[in-house]
Amino acid sequence: MKSVLRFLKDPFVVIAMVSIVFPFVFPFTDLATEMLIFGLLAVAFNLMLGYTGLLSFGHAALFGTGAYTMGILLVRFQVNIFLGMLASAGMAAAIALLIGWISIRRHGIYFAMLTLAFNEVFYFTLTQFRDLTGGEDGLRGIYRPDLVAGPASLSVQEPMRFYFFVLFIFLLSLLAMRRITGSPMGSVFKAIRENENRAESVGYKCRYYKIVAFVFSGFFAGLAGALFCIYIKYVSLSFCHWSLSGEVIIMALLGGIGSLYGPLIGAALVTLMQDILAGMWERWLLLLGIIFIIFVMFFQGGVWSGIEALSSRLFRKPEKKEIPA
């Protein structure tokens, strides 16, 4: 009984259960799918901001890389869906390696600006290769392939089925990122966030570890892009626009960058608001901006730390409280 309770206290289990039940109580399955995809993107982004302390403004380029790679592979080569997703994530990881390798030489705001600059370079490069990317018209003719593994195949055209396919990839990725952040190398990421200078002084070549964090982040951001591509069956330049990078930052901060799962909540909230408010009021971004300001000023832990505080109050356990000296 006790072990079941502990099992239920694991946020990953809670998130898995909630997201399994979610589409049955929430009437808009497509919107739920979108929430998962952006959740994946925001968690991937937070591997850098929350865990390594690196603010990237280039995640739209990585998301876009994933989406374009998937799209192009589908349109030109009718690639297997799993192979395509792996290639898209790998391609985004490669782009992250390139951007990271150069940007990581600078710190703080200069790093952020370099990633933003790369995002812009990437955006305009894509407009130039019209033959491959469709330029401003976007990439058309994308279809959602069936899940094919050997002789077995399964159609995911139907929204509910597609949701569960995305959920499967999402949970797998979340589990992988959880292992990364809990690993010895993940502990070095946190050390860099806390005090890069000291991490270097005890013998860690921080540049190397930061690039690795960037590559991991890029891999999962690319995977999110690939999923979005087959979700919406279209790839447009707006996927790579820097404003998406900004939106991801808002998602992460709103949800809370202090944990692996916080950004999920932020992504779900922003995606939901976007859908509901954008239909009612065209200046809805103003409202999002105000909410964002309030959170950054008064609730720096984001929604997640609120949930944590609430759950520890509900399941009040005899806590060994450290008294700050």
Binding site: S183, A191, N195, S201, V202, A325
Partner: protein
């Protein structure tokens, strides 16, 4: 053979020479202290040795290997540990984690990104042993930022120790400490000297004179005297430049 040797070491900041043609040799197993007025170049010298600064010219060798120009992480990996004058910890991480990270930096498992952090028992056991050695076992789970100043100073040294340095560089280990804490730290440094060669910067003369084998006196970037505590105290130039100013 000297463990560490500097040859014509020179460091300019703009046109200001903060370390000026310094030739020093450090033998294994001894305690060296560097003294001198503020701005004498003591910390800069330590920074040059530990790779936090690159010299303008000159050479530093550690175990006959040239180490000037290496990054601080490389210098650390060769066996030179460093503690800092201002606390330089991982503030939001626990005391244990602060030390564990330093231990892990020598372990091949540091590149592992898919096992649990507890997978390497030897790393955790050694970290526990070091937390115990610095006397912080009761606060092992406490975040470093909530420690008292004295405990932070101990953790500062504990992190440096956890990398198993042959040579330990300490920048004012007793800075800001109360007198009774200082006495305790003194005993601790003596104990460390049994296993490590130590170079430390210190302002408190009683400490310097009581535990150093050799004292190096710096002023305006130059080494103006080296020798045993007694010899240095008797040196007329030292009295003029430094000690004279105090008593």
């Amino acid at each position: 053979m000297a463990l560490l040797k500097t040859t014509k070491l020179l460091k300019y900041f703009g046109s200001l020479a903060c370390v000026y043609y310094v030739d020093l040799e450090f033998e294994e197993g001894r305690i060296y202290s560097i003294i001198g007025p503020n701005g004498a170049g003591k910390t800069s010298l330590l920074n040059l040795i530990s790779g936090h600064l690159a010299p303008s010219s000159g050479e530093i060798t550690f175990r006959d290997r040239k180490i000037d120009g290496l990054e601080s992480s490389q210098v650390s990996q060769l066996g030179i540990g460093r503690s800092f004058q201002l606390n330089n910890l991982f503030p939001a991480l626990s005391v244990f984690e602060n030390v564990r990270l330093a231990v892990q930096s020598r372990h091949p498992g540091r590149y592992n990104f898919f096992s649990n952090i507890g997978a390497y028992r030897e790393v955790n056991e050694k970290a526990d042993a070091i937390v115990d050695k610095i006397g912080l076992s009761p606060s092992s789970a406490k975040q470093a930022q909530y420690l008292s100043h004295g405990d932070k100073r101990l953790l500062e040294i504990g992190i440096a120790l956890a990398t198993d340095p042959a040579l330990l560089l300490m920048d004012e280990p007793t800075s800001g400490m109360a007198p009774e804490e200082t006495v305790m730290m003194l005993g601790f440094i003596r104990k460390l000297a049994l296993e490590h060669t130590i170079i430390f910067i210190e302002h408190k003369m009683n400490i310097v004179m009581s535990i150093s084998d050799q004292v190096i006196v710096m002023n305006q970037g130059r080494v103006i005297a080296t020798g045993t505590p007694a010899a240095v105290q008797a040196d007329p130039e030292v009295r003029r430049a430094y000690l004279g100013g105090i008593d």
